[in-house]
């Protein structure tokens, strides 16, 4: 590519960019027993910073920003959910479906049956995931945009049904629900779940199970011909992925002590996709990264009101065009590889 060729001014030599893995990466990549503290640190550093950072932040931040941190984790969970489902080949435009169902389930259990959040949140998560998976089962055989359309339409349908029939509080929603004990417990709860999902999903995708999901995304006819029931695996992927989003919904219900039609708002679909696009799809770390950049940024720009959405869209579009692989991939490349100019003949 001529883009990578550079001509030295005044001389006739052209250079091209060359990328090599760093020695330390090559050394620590495939061996299980790391032979030096330096290598161990190299591998642990990014993960360690994330974990330690997230665990320590709630203690350091003022209350307002802790709340922002909580919402950031919520959106990050949604982004993880989207990324996971996308890695099984399903492009979903309806994270808000999972979020809303989880939220309503938890809220309804709390409002009508007076169960405490310790029950409603797990039940909301599991019940929400199962309900949404069953809802989407008939269209698992659709691909691409048609699948996306269904996930897009379903929440709209649910909104109208709730509006029309007035169940679950109808237009006003259910309010005065039981709160979570205190802000710090809430923050640590969601941070813990987020970390579990992040590293859990990553680990899952590394196993053979994850390989099957990647295969389904790559070429589902081939997977079918090798004896794997792709619909069963897709359903499982949907279940696993939507749990994170349903948890987010159930959590937010008790965090704000309210559930209503805003639980199905388009924001909960667009935000995770924007975060993942900015951070880089295909690695959960990218989605996390995107979330932790976009959400605090949003808060800082809260002053400009509705221009926020304009800015989001702008951001998303710019990133999709200029950095299609996402920021995270770029950073990862820098971390793992060195670039240098090499003389060409």
């Amino acid at each position: 590519m001529t883009r990578n060729l550079r001509k030295d001014k005044g001389s006739d030599t052209t250079y091209r960019k060359e990328r090599l893995d760093r020695c330390i990466k090559a050394r620590s990549d495939t061996i299980y027993a790391l032979s030096s503290y330096r290598e161990a640190l190299y591998l642990l550093f990014p993960r360690g910073v994330t974990i330690v950072g997230l665990l320590v932040l709630p203690l350091l931040l003022p209350e307002y920003w802790t709340k922002v941190l909580v919402m950031t984790c919520v959106v990050a969970l949604l982004a993880l959910s989207w990324d996971f489902i996308a890695m099984a080949g399903m492009f979903s435009l309806g994270q808000t479906l999972f979020f809303g169902v989880g939220a309503y389930l938890a809220g309804a259990l709390n409002y009508y049956l007076h169960l405490s959040p310790f029950f409603t949140i797990p039940m909301g998560t599991l019940g929400g995931a199962i309900f949404c998976t069953i809802l989407i089962l008939p269209v698992l055989r659709l691909r691409g945009i048609y699948f996306a359309m269904v996930t897009f339409v379903l929440p709209l349908l649910l909104i109208r049904i709730i509006e029309m029939t007035g169940i679950f509080g109808g237009v006003e929603g259910l309010s005065a629900l039981s709160p979570l004990p205190n802000l710090w417990l809430a923050a640590y709860l969601i941070i813990a779940v987020f970390l579990v999902c992040l590293f859990g999903y990553r680990r899952l995708m590394d196993t053979d199970y994850g390989l099957i999901l990647k295969g389904i995304k790559n070429n589902d006819l081939a997977v079918m011909s090798r004896g794997i029931n792709i619909y069963w695996y897709k359903a499982q992927a949907l279940l696993i992925g939507s749990s994170a989003a349903a948890f987010a919904g159930a959590f937010v219900t008790h965090h704000y002590r309210f559930v209503g039609l805003p639980a199905f708002s388009m924001d909960y679909t667009i935000l995770p996709i924007a975060c993942t696009v900015v951070g880089g799809p295909g690695t959960f770390a990218g989605a996390t990264f995107g979330a932790f950049i976009l959400m605090p940024l949003t808060e800082l720009l809260r002053a400009i009101g509705t221009w926020r959405v304009v800015l989001y869209s702008f951001f998303m579009v710019v990133f999709i065009i200029l950095v299609p692989e996402g920021i995270f991939h770029y950073l990862q490349r820098k971390y793992h590889q060195i670039e240098r100019l090499v003389k060409t003949e």
Binding site: V139, R160, S313, V317
Partner: protein, 289 residues
Amino acid sequence: MLGMLIYGLINSAVFMLMAIGFSLTFGISGVANFAYGAFYVTGAYIAWQLINTLGLSLVISIIVSAIITGLFGALLYWFVLFRIRGLLLSEIIATFGIGIGMLELYRSIGLSGHSYKLPTLVDGSIEILGVYVDYQRLIIIGVAAVLVFFLWFFSHHTKMGLAFRGIAQNERTSLAFGIESEFTAMVSMGMGCCLASLAAAVIIPLSLIQVEEGSNVLILALAVGIVGGMESIAGVILGSLIFGYAQMAVATYFNPHYTVIVMLATILIVLVIKPSGLFGKFKELEERV
């Protein structure tokens, strides 16, 4: 009864007009333009500006607005879609994002309210078989018919139209035949936006220019395409008729609020049973067997 038939037809014509531009770009040429709704509204605003600020006559404003919107669409292709062509999901996300951005921009600037109205082409109404229909609505039917015919003729009998279909079906082969796929796609996008603007110019006089209309139009165009089959003109006609009459029937015999539910449910049912639409043949988008 007769009134319902006629109003259903008008409704269908409205939907048909809304869906045509989108079908041209996405269905026939395979270029995703999810900012379509935003262009619809843009066309209306530009026409409004031309009429109120420059004082041009209505017909000229409509034509000029259509051209400008079309050029705008082509520019969008040139700067944005050009780089991500071929990655369908990226195209969708990018254009969708731009569409939402544009609509929110309009909302933020404050382009909504009673002052934003487009005048009708012809005032007054006429009585047809005992039913009063205003001329504007008749014009809508006429324009819809003309545009649909034009679309059919264009995509089946002109070189450019056939090129549109070619790049959707197999881009490499089209290139081998000397069709410049980039340019063709750009033209297709421009034409789609142009049609959106024309549709807006004819439909919006019935009410106001509203930013929400943008999202509604996109969903409707998608719905009509999905139900009827994206790439088939007959499908667009059938889809619009189905939705047009369904909306009328539900609003008259049940509760007007149920119309949206019925429409959304229709989309879902079609997607489950026959995803490529009633007349569609894009089987690659669904699993076999």
